[in-house]
Amino acid sequence: MTELGSVKRPYLADLFRSDGLEDQVIGNLAQRIGLRLTDGDRRALAATVRRLAEQVRTADTEFEHDDPFPAYLA
């Protein structure tokens, strides 16, 4: 949640970020579809997603994107 004036509201980025929620997302979905998933399975799947996301974030830092704005706005 991000404080904006006196109102706390989620920014889109907060809503869309799944850091740390992978376990929960996978667990909830498995439950919803009636899939028996052991804790170990769930954690392993979540860890794979986290590892992949981490690799993508690392790639992003190594990748020099073109700056979409003129330098004086930086």
Partner: protein
Amino acid sequence: MTVLPFLALDQIAEAIRTKKVSPVEVVCDALARGRRLQPRLNCFISLLEEQAIDEAQRAEREICLGRYRGLLHGIPYTVKDVFATAGVRTTAGSRVLGDWVPQKDAAAVASLRAAGAVLLGKTNTSEFAAGPTTANEHYGPARNPWDVDRVPGGSSGGSAAALAAGIGAFSLGTDTGGSIRMPAAACGVVGLKPSIGSVPRRGVVMLSWSLDTVGILAHSVEDGARVLDALGPARGVETDAAPSPFRIGLPIELLDEPCDPEVRRIFMAAIARACERGAHVERLSVPWARHALPVNNLISWFESWAVHERIFVAHSKSYGEAIRRRLLMGAAVGAEDYRTALRIRHGFVRRAEDLFRRIDVLALPTLSVPPPPVGAEEVEVAGQRISTLDALGRFTRFASFTGQPALSLPCGLTGGGLPVGLQLIGPIGGDRRLWQIGQEFEAAIGWDRPVPPGIS
């Protein structure tokens, strides 16, 4: 005339056109091979015997009446079972669509039908085209004709296995992360992935909207390129002249990734043979290229979850274990990471454009290992244990990610008698030039289409 299933497409076509052989003979021969080899290779989900003979008889009548439609008229072929076929069950390798009989052909199938080609059957695939081994949980694993204890690659593994066994002159496949090139390499045939969007995808069961590409598996680059011509206008300039000496780029960092030493040696020997015929080689530092594997995977997982979400929730028990796990993981990928991945891809494509100002093709082994044993979750690569998925897909993601045209062609056999594939990647829209360079490589390598042992 003896029907030779490994003849070049234009030779079979010429024999049909001049009535030295009838389409019915050619098709019946291919069906007989299919029937005989299916128990060993499990390359088909549906073999369409009656329909194929009907179509062959129609082709024969038309040709006898002087209505020859062209190169593909009466030519038998197969289709990966993710392409909709009017009146014929289309499963996408899943129980979810186990009884689906579409009313319309996919666009690519309709084009081939209009050209008079004869559909032999729907080939085995990884469920929903997700996975590089064609270890299908519902219809059984497809097997490699070179060694039936090995995978044929995937996800178009049934297509590659059928073709390598001489069943059909070519096969229609799809490629999202290497699903045409990987099985082509594993089975010793050619796989062509054109620039993304070149061939219409209408009627293909989707895996990833931004990555799925329709392409061809064939016995030679020329055969594949000629079939692609029937599917839509090819991109790039066609020249009759032999291509001028071309420039090959070798991406240093990708080639430093774990790769089976024998695969690497056979690949480098093929590059050396191309150089003997005048090609120039440049070793290029492309450190960013190694990011293609994870970023492409994240995009594919995210999009395949979005594609399946509604159906998955209602029919999850009909999905196999492997795709179910993949979809669960796709559901947990955050949209921000997907956004980051798309942004990386944008930068990646621009860098690739710059790269291809210096070279004509980027060359890599197609697979980093020989085809692994059926059921192996890990393989040993240069002393390291690596997941089979990563070992198979490590080198194919680059062109999937950028949408560039790419091909795989056989460049030799390991000491154990397993095929090794060489992959060439061209610039977006440079398909024709890439196919020409592929033919130059074929000539340099001298692959004489050996028939897998035990396949007569």
